[in-house]
Symmetry: C2
DNA sequence: CCCATAATACCGACCAGTCGGTATCATGCT
DNA sequence: AGCATGATACCGACTGGTCGGTATTATGGG
């Protein structure tokens, strides 16, 4: 889940390093020299490509949004292999996917949300940056909404609550990540996401989710 | 919801100012001179009572925890007026209470969680501070757990999921606050909490919550 | 007088951003 | 090819302001 590698050009390595470091330490605690060191370049290179620390953070927010958007779109939830799966299944599988991302990480920052981390920290101090980061979150909610509409319709529920349900996805994801930090273990996030699955199953089926993967 | 007033002594005013400012701007962005100005004292007074910025943040975390704990305990959820209310009702009413707190606030920071804000920001950079803040969150989860046990038992559900459910409360609360920041409106948090109520009602009743207060 | 409380002046580390410079590569002219 | 021209990429010493923390001094109650 590293956001940079050798093959990238300098600019992209800097952006990738920025994303990784902010997810680890937060915006303010990251020094531009840290970013340079992580990308293996000098301060001169940094300010050649970006006019300020805030600018790279904003551009990184766009990158994050595009990557999240692309990842989600490419994994068959919107279209693709699971084109024929029910909306209900898509949503539950998506939660499973997020759980698997957490389980596959060694460090908490690896599954942290760049956008969520930023929003929490810079909401009042850097309004422009906050809004760029928030766009990633809002964008993802918009992606989920049509699937929620379909799933609610299939379940015979009021479609009008789809926007709230889509937002609720992000609410739980972001809250789960915070809990992982509070408890200092990814398990705290996983527990919350499993609880969320129970909610979804009740909402769509009026019952528990079928145990596709047994809980350890 | 201001955390300091004229009548308090210098030390408590400083702690209250710290809490308010951190909830507005985050830990790093708050300068000790800001805290002094908000409390109406000088730097000399600040360092007379606290040996460092981190120390006041840690002590403020304890204050926050104790106040949250006390508030929760004093409002009849654990004991008191609603001693005879069902656990199910206590939990739903608690969510309503949190919603009312948000509705009664003009600024987002007024209903923000000092502990949650800190945990997000200082998780990796200030481990000790993180843990002191996290204690408030974990403590609150522990308060909710016995009520969850009771509510689940009453509903004929598996009591073993009570710890996960109690944690889920915090997950949703914290996530909802982040969403309010992302959308720049308290409504985003309220929507999520209402969705959460739906979840709880399904879990306990297998149906929608009775509309005690009509949704606007 | 003494101690707690508080104010002011000051220090020094830290860090975003600057700036003068070099290296590399593309282009076009002869 | 050879060379001038210039653009892009990159370097790292330096600066100027910020801010946590300290040293020193003032005040006032017991």
């Amino acid at each position: 889940m590293g956001y940079q590698n050798e093959a990238m050009n300098t600019r992209d390595r800097l952006i990738g390093a920025m994303i990784d470091l902010v997810r680890q330490k937060g915006y303010d605690a990251v020094r531009v020299e840290d970013v340079c060191a992580a990308a293996g370049v000098s301060k001169g290179a940094f300010f050649h490509y970006f006019k300020s620390k805030q600018e790279i953070a904003e551009i990184a927010a766009d990158t994050w949004r595009d990557n999240s958007c692309g990842l989600f779109a490419s994994m068959g939830f919107v279209q693709g292999d699971d084109r024929d799966a029910s909306a209900r299944d898509k949503l539950l599988r998506y939660v499973d996917f997020r759980i698997s991302l957490i389980e596959g990480s060694k460090e908490i920052y690896e599954f942290c949300c760049y956008a969520g981390t930023l929003v929490q920290e810079v909401h009042a101090t850097h309004p422009d940056l906050n809004d760029r980061a928030a766009a990633g979150i809002i964008n993802h909610v918009a992606q989920l909404e049509p699937i929620c509409v379909e799933a609610l319709a299939d379940a015979g529920r009021d479609v009008a609550e789809a926007p709230a349900l889509a937002r609720y996805f992000q609410t739980v994801m972001q809250g789960a990540l915070l809990m992982a930090k509070a408890y200092r273990t990814p398990d705290a996030a996983i527990f919350s996401l499993r609880q969320f699955k129970t909610h979804l199953a009740l909402l769509f089926d009026g019952s528990r989710p079928k145990p596709e993967e047994p809980s350890p």
